[in-house]
């Protein structure tokens, strides 16, 4: 029984419809290999970010616990202090600058979408279904991640949960795809050399030899670009995105060229002129809540209530620590305040104790965070009262905020109301 007519319908299903002389197994293998390296790093740093939120502690979990991969809960160190700035900066920046490579890879295999007959065997049917998971998954992960970094939510589902489960679909489909295609990739590299076709000039550029998979055009047009040239165009697109993006994470002179980065702006020279993730107005923090009546409640074996003046009278320490956002931007500032471990001792607890931090913010996500004992014990972990020598601004968490080395920015709770040390 034949499911499909032997003759393909007109249009892209006909051989010879796609005419680029550059498409072929070697080109796709090279683009795929490069993309694979990028996707490996983006996946690893994404999973590390999940771990950095320490979803096993307190109410930290955003993705429902129990419906999760518990072996990801590896704990999170405080050394080096720029660890999360590095991993998350890599996740977001590499994800953004890999867009041209993803587009080029998909361009190189588009004839396969219109293969005729659409299904030739059960194996091929399964493979095509897994490719929907792979291509849909890749585009879904890129699209949701990129719009999230620009705080634009055109969808109705929750970003974190969807991006997390989407990642598992994408990663598993990618693994099987690489395994299935490994023989094709090895053959292409063996027959044509890994980089040798990049030496050909435009005049020397010929289509790859016929391949049964239908990537090579049966009616190739005259080339307008060498393979080296194509890689160069992809490289130029990547470099362009890097220049307008990376400054929000790397800082330095690149901050000036981060012209399209969502958080690349230089706001001014004041001590509090650096990026904010949630303003006091948004969190509904009023001057009355942070004024003379403000008391920090420190709980442990005993409960202590401290005014801001009393906090300032405790031993003060200054640390240069980055604040690194899950959206990819980061900035290092000089924070001054009381060590968390000193406050633990004040509450009659050992310096190394789990800590639950609550904010004055009364409603909304991420107004609390639980830290593990190692993070509390670290000498550089502060309840910051000042930044760069000045009082914290309301948007940066006045009267007091947590700052812990290598901790994701949203867990460095602002407008701290309670510190609850738990044995």
């Amino acid at each position: 029984m034949r499911l499909f007519p032997a003759k393909p319908p007109p249009g892209p299903f006909r051989p010879g419809f796609f005419r680029s002389p550059l498409r072929g197994p070697w080109l796709t293998s090279l683009l795929g290999s490069l993309l694979l390296v990028a996707m490996f790093l983006v996946s690893i740093t994404g999973l590390l970010s999940h771990a950095a939120y320490q979803p096993d502690l307190g109410a930290n979990a955003i993705v429902p616990t129990g419906a999760d991969a518990p072996w990801l809960n590896i704990g999170w160190p405080t050394h080096p202090s720029w660890l999360y700035a590095l991993t998350q900066g890599t996740h977001v920046t590499l994800g953004i600058i890999a867009v041209p490579l993803l587009l080029a890879k998909l361009w190189s295999v588009i004839p396969r979408l219109f293969a005729w007959p659409p299904v030739a065997s059960p194996a091929q049917a399964l493979e095509r279904l897994s490719l929907l998971a792979l291509v849909g998954g890749a585009l879904f992960q890129f699209a949701t991640g990129i719009v999230n970094a620009q705080v634009y939510y055109p969808f109705k589902f929750g970003f974190v949960t969807a991006h997390y489960y989407g990642a598992w679909v994408f990663m598993s489909a990618l693994v099987i795809h690489v395994l299935v295609k490994l023989p094709t990739i090895r053959r292409a590299y063996r027959e044509r050399g890994v980089l040798k076709p990049l030496r050909e000039s435009l005049e020397q550029t010929r289509p790859e030899p016929y391949d049964p998979d239908g990537l090579v055009s049966e009616r190739p047009a005259e080339p307008t670009l060498s393979r080296r040239g194509l890689l160069g165009v992809v490289g130029a697109m990547t470099a362009g995105l890097f220049v307008v993006t990376a400054g929000q994470s790397i800082g330095g002179p690149l901050r000036r060229t981060a012209l399209l980065a969502p958080r690349g702006r230089v706001r001014g020279n004041g001590p509090n002129d650096f990026e904010v993730n949630k303003t006091a107005a948004t969190a509904k923090i009023t001057p009355k809540m942070t004024g003379d009546g403000y008391r920090l409640k420190v709980q442990g074996r005993k409960t202590v209530e401290l005014s801001r003046a009393q906090l300032l009278a405790l031993p003060q320490h200054t640390e240069h620590l980055p604040i690194a956002c899950v959206e990819g931007w980061s900035t290092t500032q000089a924070w001054t305040g009381v060590r968390l471990r000193d406050l633990a001792v004040l509450a009659g607890m050992p310096a190394s104790t789990q800590l639950h931090v609550g904010s004055l913010q009364e409603a909304g996500a991420l107004r609390q965070a639980t830290l593990e004992s190692g993070q509390v014990a670290d000498e550089r972990s502060l309840l910051a009262l000042k930044v760069n020598g000045a009082d914290l601004s309301p948007d940066h968490g006045y009267p007091a905020r947590v700052i812990v080395p290598a901790l994701p920015g949203v867990h460095c709770t602002k407008w701290v109301a309670t510190l609850d040390f738990r044995a």
Partner: protein, 148 residues
């Protein structure tokens, strides 16, 4: 073994591997179904693939054909392609800020209005095309001098 290969079209390992992928996919989707708007998740998943394969790719392919059909020397087309692609991919990635989508969200989190993205993108685009044009003129002049 060979009968499976004949009927199925590949080795049993191929089948096993794909079944693992579908199990993970179903696991992921079932958990997303515990959350908000599960169908919206599935729609976006499939729509992402369709939008790219049936809209974006044909769109830029047609644009490329148009560029190739423009009068002028054949070698000129890459001097249009490169700046157009560089500018185009920036628009694709940063359209929410360039086209000022949901500016209220941005202001609520950052405390600032998201200003200047459209202007920056237009300036970058103009600079890219200008640089490309200068490069083209320079190269053509050098080629003419050589041929004389």
């Amino acid at each position: 073994m060979s009968r499976i290969r004949e009927r199925y079209g590949a080795s049993p390992l191929h089948l096993l591997g794909h079944l693992v992928v579908f199990a993970i996919t179903l696991w992921a989707i079932s958990h997303v179904f515990d959350g908000r708007e599960p169908w919206n998740f599935v729609v976006w998943f499939v729509a992402a693939a369709l939008l790219h394969d049936l809209l974006l790719l044909p769109f830029y392919s047609v644009l490329d054909r148009v560029a190739q059909a423009l009068p002028g020397p054949r070698s000129a087309v890459n001097f249009v392609r490169v700046p157009a692609l560089m500018s185009g991919v920036m628009l694709l990635v940063y359209f929410p800020r360039i086209l000022d989508r949901a500016p209220g969200n941005y202001t609520r989190v950052s405390g600032f209005d998201p200003e200047g993205y459209m202007r920056n993108w237009l300036l970058i685009t103009a600079a890219l095309f200008m640089a490309s044009a200068l490069l083209y003129v320079g190269r053509s002049a050098a080629a003419r001098r050589r041929s004389r």
